[in-house]
Amino acid sequence: MSVGLEHYLVLAAILFSIGLYGALAKRNAIVILMCIEIMLNAVNIAMVAFAHYVNVIAGQVFTIFIMVVAAAEVAVGLALIITIFRNRKTVDAEKYDLMKW
């Protein structure tokens, strides 16, 4: 059985689910950020697979924009985590309860 569009989409789904599990279950805020990056990468794989097999270049252009947003998100996210760490001496997401009801 030759590798086709479905294989890449299933791979993207598996990768997204792993990232989803990590983002929901982990307590270290930096690990949560890493898992979000893995989810974004999974979406990128699906997008590039569509661009290749349907033969439209727009999928790759969207992937570039996702990369830009991911880079911006990591920069601001890490800045936030480091600022909170300075004030509260922890990166445990369950101890970030300042705005909890």
Binding site: H52, Y53, T63, L78
Partner: protein, 165 residues
């Protein structure tokens, strides 16, 4: 044939590295496994005839984001506590598993439109034309540039030490 072998190797590497990100306790190794996962994704882009994106993936994800995350780990000095899971773990596992099962069922069960000829040839020119041509993505491109500038300024403002003003 070569593309299929490459796909299976890279797919296994990618999923294995992602699982290691979730299961390994040492947070510094977690970051290295994340970088390995990104490298495997770059390889997958090559198998999908996306040469420019593979290069961009290595530059942006492996280079910039990998180094940034490792810097974040160093600066927060919590590596000795590992990467524990919270009390949401069973629920998170259930949600992720259900999501994966649904997605795979839908993907396998659907009839996907596939062009008779998959894309071939260098993509850099095509991407540039798609962005900069008339009716292209030029507005989104400009907004992305403004977003990056705002993110850089925001990161600098957030992390600056307030004392030395």
């Amino acid at each position: 044939m070569g593309q299929q072998v490459a796909f299976w190797i890279l797919a296994l590497l990618c999923v294995g590295a992602a699982l290691a990100v979730v299961y390994v306790r040492d947070i510094f190794r977690v970051a290295l496994f994340m970088v390995l996962c990104f490298l495997a994704v770059a390889g997958l882009y090559v198998t999908l005839n996306a040469d420019f994106l593979a290069a961009a993936q290595i530059l942006v994800y492996v280079g910039a984001i990998g180094v940034l995350i490792i810097f974040g780990i160093m600066l927060t000095r919590e590596s000795k506590r590992g990467s524990p899971t919270g009390k949401l773990r069973p629920a998170a596992m259930l949600v992720a598993f259900l999501f994966m099962a649904t997605m795979i069922a839908v993907i396998v069960g659907s009839e996907w439109y596939v062009a008779s000829e998959p894309s071939s040839g260098a993509t850099t020119t095509q991407i540039a034309q798609s962005i900069f041509d008339k009716d292209g993505f030029i507005l989104a491109f400009e907004i992305a540039a403004a977003l990056l500038l705002a993110a850089v300024i925001g990161a600098v403002v957030l992390t600056r030490d307030k004392k030395d003003k």
